[in-house]
């Protein structure tokens, strides 16, 4: 193997990546559904006989990174019984899939009778049956409502299509001709790969090809190991929440992550996570593990092409039957939210291990907004679907970018042209701007979220929202503040407002002509202490309308003159005052009553002396965070407890670990900064 010269290795690698690019072009040219050839909601990959990713191109991370689990599961179930001419179809979330709409075709390629490669294509099929058109229901309580489940099956066996099976599948999906088109485009892409791999094999010989594949995997593994090795060994911990609403209102679900770094290996352990729930907040092991990898790759090694080698030093532990490893029969449609929250936990834990390499939290949700109805002007149904991205977190070198797709989203566009929407739908976009002050304050500010106003111009329509992060905003790190949370509400023609009882989760709210829906995507978390931000940058942000004068004064401590310049003298005084006004408490190790459980819901309790709570401007049940200047803040719900000494906060060992705090460490206590939900920026 070592006799492969580096030139041949690079040329063959370029050839393998080119195979995947050509698969992609084939899908793009031959697919029939809009979601695929316009939104490009599909991915292609090339796998080796062991099911490892060998090559991929500019695909959607949320698709392609979980693909190996599908291939692995298919191999486990069918691997001993595969022959040339077999083609596998699958979408089962419980067996290596993501959500039911992501239908995957896996195409074994043989050299003689030796299995050598699997090209695979994952396409988002616009409908796979289930309760609602489009199959993604925000109210599903069982997977049966989300569409038809396809375990790994041979849809083509030795070159012969299993027509009865195909008929069963298509009979359970809406717009069957389009679904058949989706299938055929995936198949065409795999056939293209087969031809090109044969050409590469003819030219270089199979042994050389496979040796190059292994060398690539090995060097990616080596590189990831080198990157992990550079991180300080240790046990890191972070916890975050998914949001549900029950009879008692907000019921957060705990997502804890124990991250262990030992030498050149890393383990992400989600033990202790909330059990799965009969609402769409669950996702699969493949999605959870992929999100761990996406974060590591994006933080540690952004430069290199992605292959399976870089996954090898990483272990992911996600207990079965939980929101991060869903099992039968819970709904599994919430990959967008679990992905974002796993990424958040990874950022929170890594913020302590390698603060230079990560950012504040990213906008927390895929923010699926739907406005649909019948347009009285045409008599036809319409559905406007929008997924405006929000702010990204600030990081060591720069402010987080505003309104930009997150790291798990590949090259998806997240902003749609107003001129197209207004020509197509009975909608008038009144404004579409970055939300002033929505970026988490910090030495490097989080990016801003979007603020959009969509007015229904005629008829009646329904508004739905499937999102998360409306209650728990994106966190800042190293002292940075939270970005603005997700929100949406309706303004009626008489200017009265309708706010939703379950922010972030709206099902079919009726809109009348003249009603305006206000959409607010989340901001990004800040990086570093806002009092350390250069005064000129704060003044620039105010001049550009990204930060208000009030926030400049009250959060950044920067006093501006009437013509917009910083008053350095007054700023120094203000910053000293703000710093002095911070409330510090010291940790006491004590693991009684660390969480309040309530059904699957579980939340951290911060027991504090009533005087401290009052002093901090908090009341019983308020959300607050503790921080120590580095890493990410630990969030919880304050509870007055007269048995706790003033100036103290009991913390269980996990809480101490999250903060990297010894017993008696001095911590800052601050309320969770959540802007007034009615403020429209």
């Amino acid at each position: 193997m070592s006799d492969i010269d580096p030139i041949t290795l690079e040329v063959v690698t370029e050839g393998l990546i080119s195979v995947v690019r050509e698969m992609r072009a084939t899908v793009f040219r031959t697919a029939r559904s809009v979601a695929i050839y316009e939104a490009r909601d599909f991915s292609c990959g090339l796998f080796d006989a062991g099911g490892q990713v060998v090559a991929q191109s500019e695909d959607i991370g949320s698709h392609v990174v979980p693909l190996p689990w599908s291939v692995e599961q298919s191999l486990a179930e069918l691997g001993d019984d595969l022959s040339p001419g077999d083609v596998i179809l699958m979408n089962d979330p419980y067996r290596g899939g993501t959500h039911l709409n992501d239908v995957t075709i896996i195409y074994p390629i043989f050299d003689g009778d030796r299995l050598v490669f699997f090209p695979a294509v994952r396409e988002h099929w616009a409908d796979v049956g289930g309760a609602v058109p489009g199959s993604m229901s925000g109210t599903a309580s069982e997977i049966y409502q989300e569409g038809i489940r396809i375990p790994p099956v041979k849809i083509i066996e030795k070159g012969v299509l299993n027509a009865p099976l195909m008929e069963v599948l298509l009979s359970n999906m809406r717009v069957r001709e389009e679904r058949l088109g989706d299938f055929n485009s995936s198949l065409a892409a795999c056939r293209t790969a087969e031809r090109r791999l044969a050409e590469l094999t003819d030219r270089y010989g199979l042994d050389t090809l496979l040796a190059c594949v292994e060398l690539n995997l090995t060097r990616s593994e080596r590189r990831m190991r080198e990157k992990i090795e550079l991180l300080p060994d240790g046990e890191y911990y972070y916890e975050d929440y998914l949001e549900t609403f029950g009879p008692k209102g907000f019921e957060p679900l705990l997502l804890p992550l124990a991250l262990t770094i030992r030498g050149d290996e890393l383990t992400a352990d989600f033990t202790g996570v909330s059990p799965q729930v009969p609402v769409p907040v669950n996702s699969t092991l493949a999605v959870t593990a992929a999100s761990v990898f996406i974060t590591l790759k994006s933080a540690l090694d952004p430069e290199q092409a992605l292959n399976h080698g870089s996954f090898r030093p990483v272990e992911v532990i996600a207990p079965e039957g939980t929101i991060v490893n869903v099992t039968h029969p819970a709904p599994a449609g919430s990959h967008g939210e679990i992905r974002k929250r796993v990424i958040a936990c990874m950022l929170g834990a890594l913020a302590r291990a390698c603060p230079d390499l990560v950012s504040g939290d990213i906008h927390r949700t895929s923010f699926h907004n739907l406005i649909g109805g019948v347009d009285p002007a045409t008599g036809k149904e319409f559905v406007h679907y929008e997924w405006s991205s929000g702010g990204n977190g600030g990081f060591l070198e720069a402010d987080g970018p505003s309104a930009m797709a997150a790291i798990d989203w590949g090259d998806l566009s997240t902003a749609q042209p107003t001129e197209v929407l207004e020509s197509r739908f009975p909608l008038h976009i009144e404004w579409s701007r970055q939300g002033t002050d929505s970026g988490g304050p910090g030495r490097n500010r989080g990016g801003l979220g979007m603020r959009r106003a969509l007015k229904l111009t005629r008829g009646v329509a329904k508004y739905s929202l499937l999102s998360d992060g409306a209650m728990m905003p994106p966190f800042g790190i190293l002292g940075g503040e939270s970005g603005a949370p997700v929100n949406s509400f309706v303004i009626h023609p008489d200017n009265s407002e309708h706010h939703f009882a379950s922010p972030g989760k709206v099902g079919g709210h009726t809109l009348q002509a003249g009603d305006t829906v206000i959409l607010q995507s989340a901001g990004g978390g800040g990086y570093g202490d806002p009092l350390e931000r250069e005064v000129e940058r704060v003044a620039d942000d105010v001049a550009d309308g990204l930060v208000s004068r009030g926030t400049a004064r009250n959060v950044y401590g920067v006093i501006l003159t009437t013509d917009g310049f910083a008053d350095l003298e007054a700023t120094k005084v203000q910053r000293d005052q703000l710093r002095a006004a911070r409330i510090t408490v010291s940790a006491v190790e004590d693991d009684t009553d660390a969480y309040t459980p309530s059904g699957p819901s579980k939340k951290r309790v911060l027991r504090l002396n009533p005087e401290d709570i009052k002093h901090a401007g908090l009341v019983d049940g308020d959300r607050a965070e503790l921080l120590i200047g580095d890493g990410a803040p630990l969030r919880g719900w304050v509870r007055p407890d007269a048995t706790v000494a003033a100036g103290r906060v009991p913390l269980d060992p996990l809480g101490c670990r999250a903060l990297g705090a010894d017993a008696s460490a001095s911590l800052i206590l601050r309320p969770l900064l959540v802007p007034d939900p009615g403020s429209i920026g």
Partner: protein
């Protein structure tokens, strides 16, 4: 009667001179003068020795707009826009700028957010006035921008593609309020829908306008001072020339001025050779450009970008990769071998230039393999330093544990792999088989690698045109004048009539005729064609099709669309069809500038300069080196051979044969 084509590049200013009486041509290169390109252009003109009064036309390729945009040293820009929409340019389409990178950032903005001012005034998608333009707010906006010291203004209102009145009125106010400051209206620059792309194109136009205007004015002044009275025309990205005055107004159309010259030249030569399907391959110092011409028609695109900024001005679809003769070969941080996009640039240049470069480039690899004649001048004035090239390649070879020859061969193979991928993107990825095309290789380094590219792609035929190092300048002589006009109109085909379509096209045609008349064309030299951007209802992307000239019913248009659609996407579709945008392409035919017949030398033997050892793959062969200008016509040379000329070297590897045809073009053919 002399016409000149002058192409300004980063290092050299290339000139081709044509005597329109005798039809003879001459090529020369002079150094560029980056601090003021006009000076280099004048030097080039003076070096021809032609009397200024004899010059009747000048075609010019320039990089001022592109460099201004890429180097971000354009105007301090102000934008006046619709209330509620100041962030259209900031947010764009909300795409991530770099995948799998937590630290992705957006590029520096063309305009500071504080200099984007919103005003009241709103149109609907039908072009009706929803809210009247508040002219007082426009005046206030102009005052704000004047105080901010802006040097150019773009006016970008929603739905102005269908009703430009608000923009025009705001433009009038701005021109009065801000005298001497160029004002670009989005409805003028690109009257097409989708606000981000239109605003971006308009902002780019305004951003580069002051510099391009200054440059073209100073060049015109110098020409007059020199006594040259010939009109100056500038090559546009659309493959046609523009009057200097028109280009100064819409400089965003000159972003591809340089490479478009080469593609235009290839089209002209291909037609002389009766080659209908060609792929151009233009390899220069830092990058390689490829374009595809099918059935003698250029592939056009409206989806190009300048840096990260969409530029929807119609332009030739040219695919560029950062691999050229000066591209460096190196091990990256992960110890992966890379060729480009890092480049040695003009300073220090490749190691073989002897100006202190120590890292190997693609050019150095060619030196090590013996593909240049020692003592032979590279690009005119630079003497080859073989030892320096060898030392640079050897040091990389040491790290890879390879000898210098294998390292050099590998560098070239990797560069070829990257360039091949670029050609694939415009052919294979579009469902077109490159084996059905002839490769047109030019640019300083194109002829060196053309055969390797052809081999990779299974292409059988290569044309290395005459004057390959000055080919773009030749294209400037051969180009027609071209105006692209467009008007967005959403029309469901089922409800449209031919008369309605004609009613939209007629004003576009009238304007096109007017513009060409202003350029001095008479009707017998004007060609007008009509096109439409169409799609199936519900799709978000359109396909541009030529409207059938003698359509009798709407169904004829639908049929043409379905046919093109099926060809593009390899499958038929059904459903309602709609027109999104109507287009007119107006061509003013220039005097043709055919390549004259050449004499050719007497015998191959007379053209043979020397034999020297040259490495091909693992073997070193004693390879004949020929002088291109001395080669006899239609006399095949069997590879391996190397053919030398001023400014370019053609490698004919084993398995290829080569001959000169009667216009002096070198044809390489791959043996079966």
């Amino acid at each position: 009667m002399i016409t000149l084509g002058i192409d300004v590049g980063g290092t050299f200013t290339d000139l081709v001179l044509r005597d329109s009486v005798t039809g003879t041509m001459r090529a020369l290169k002079t150094p560029s003068t980056p601090s003021n390109h006009a000076e280099g252009v004048m030097n080039a003109i003076r070096s021809t020795g032609v009397a200024p009064s004899e010059i009747t036309a000048i075609g010019h390729g320039m990089t001022v707009a592109t460099n201004t945009a890429l180097e971000m040293n354009g105007a301090r820009l102000g934008i006046i826009t619709t209330r509620g929409f100041r962030d259209v340019l900031v947010i764009g389409r909300g795409n991530r700028t770099k995948l799998y990178d937590i630290k992705a950032t957006r590029p520096e903005p063309l305009v500071e957010r504080r200099n984007i001012v919103e005003v009241d005034g709103r149109l609907t998608a039908a072009g009706e006035v929803h809210l009247a333009l508040d002219e007082d707010q426009v005046k206030l906006a102009c005052n704000t921008l004047a105080e901010a010291g802006v040097e150019a203004v773009a006016i970008c209102f929603l739905h102005s593609y269908i009703n430009p009145e608000h923009e025009r009125r705001a433009g009038e106010i701005a021109r009065v309020a801000l005298p001497g400051i160029p004002v670009s209206l989005s409805s003028d620059v690109l009257p097409e829908y989708r606000e981000f792309e239109r605003f971006s194109t308009t902002a780019l136009n305004a951003y580069v306008a002051p510099r391009v205007g200054r440059y073209l004015r100073s060049l015109a002044d110098e020409l007059v001072a020199e006594g040259v009275t010939a009109p100056l025309s500038v090559m546009g990205s659309n493959g046609g020339t523009w009057s200097a005055a028109a280009m100064a107004e819409r400089p965003v159309n000159s972003m591809l001025s340089g490479p478009a010259g080469g593609v235009t030249a290839a089209v002209a030569v291909a037609s002389m050779l009766s080659e209908n399907n060609i792929i151009t391959y233009d390899m220069g110092g830092t990058s390689t450009d490829a374009a595809l011409i099918r059935g003698s028609t250029l592939a056009m695109t409206t989806e190009a970008k300048v840096g990260m900024w969409p530029n929807r001005a119609p332009q030739i679809e040219i695919n560029t990769v950062g691999a050229g003769g000066g591209s460096l070969a190196y091990l990256d941080a992960g110890r992966f071998l890379r060729v480009g996009p890092r480049s040695a640039g003009a300073e220090p240049g490749p190691a073989c230039y002897g100006k202190g470069g120590t890292e190997p480039t693609v050019t150095d690899a060619n030196v090590v393999l013996g593909r240049f004649l020692p003592g032979h001048a590279l690009g005119g004035t630079i003497e080859l330093n073989v030892d320096a090239a060898r030392a640079a390649v050897a040091s990389l070879g040491n790290e890879l544990d390879l000898d210098p020859e294998r390292t050099a061969d590998g560098i070239i193979r990797l560069a070829v792999a990257r360039m091949t991928a670029t050609v694939k993107e415009i052919s294979v990825m579009r469902g077109l088989d490159p084996r059905d095309f002839t490769l047109f290789a030019y640019g300083g380094a194109g002829p060196l690698h053309a055969a390797l590219i052809a081999e990779e792609l299974g292409m059988r035929r290569i044309v290395v045109p005459t004057m390959p190092g000055n080919f773009s300048a030749y294209g400037l002589l051969a180009a027609n004048t071209r105006h692209d006009l467009a008007r967005t109109r959403l029309m469901p085909l089922a409800q449209a009539t031919l008369a309605e379509i004609e009613a939209e096209l007629a004003p576009l045609r009238a304007e096109a005729n007017e513009r060409l008349a202003a350029d001095g064309f008479t009707s017998d030299h004007i060609q007008i064609s009509c096109l439409a951007d169409m799609r199936f209802a519900g799709q978000a992307f359109e396909l541009t099709i030529a409207l059938p000239e003698n359509a009798e019913t709407i169904e004829d248009i639908a049929t043409a669309f379905r046919r093109d659609y099926e060809e593009r996407y390899s499958h038929a579709d059904e459903g309602a069809i709609e027109i999104v945008c109507l287009r007119v392409i107006a061509i003013g035919e220039s005097e043709p500038a055919p390549l004259p017949d050449v004499q050719g030398g007497e015998t191959l033997k007379a053209a043979l300069m020397v034999h020297r050892p040259v490495r091909f793959g693992d073997a070193t062969v004693n390879c004949p080196i020929y002088s291109r200008t001395a080669l006899p016509l239609e006399t095949p040379i069997t590879g391996p051979a190397i053919i030398e000329e001023d400014g370019a070297t053609t490698v004919v590897p084993p398995g290829f044969s080569a001959h000169i045809e009667r216009h002096g073009n070198l044809i390489l053919e791959r043996e079966a």
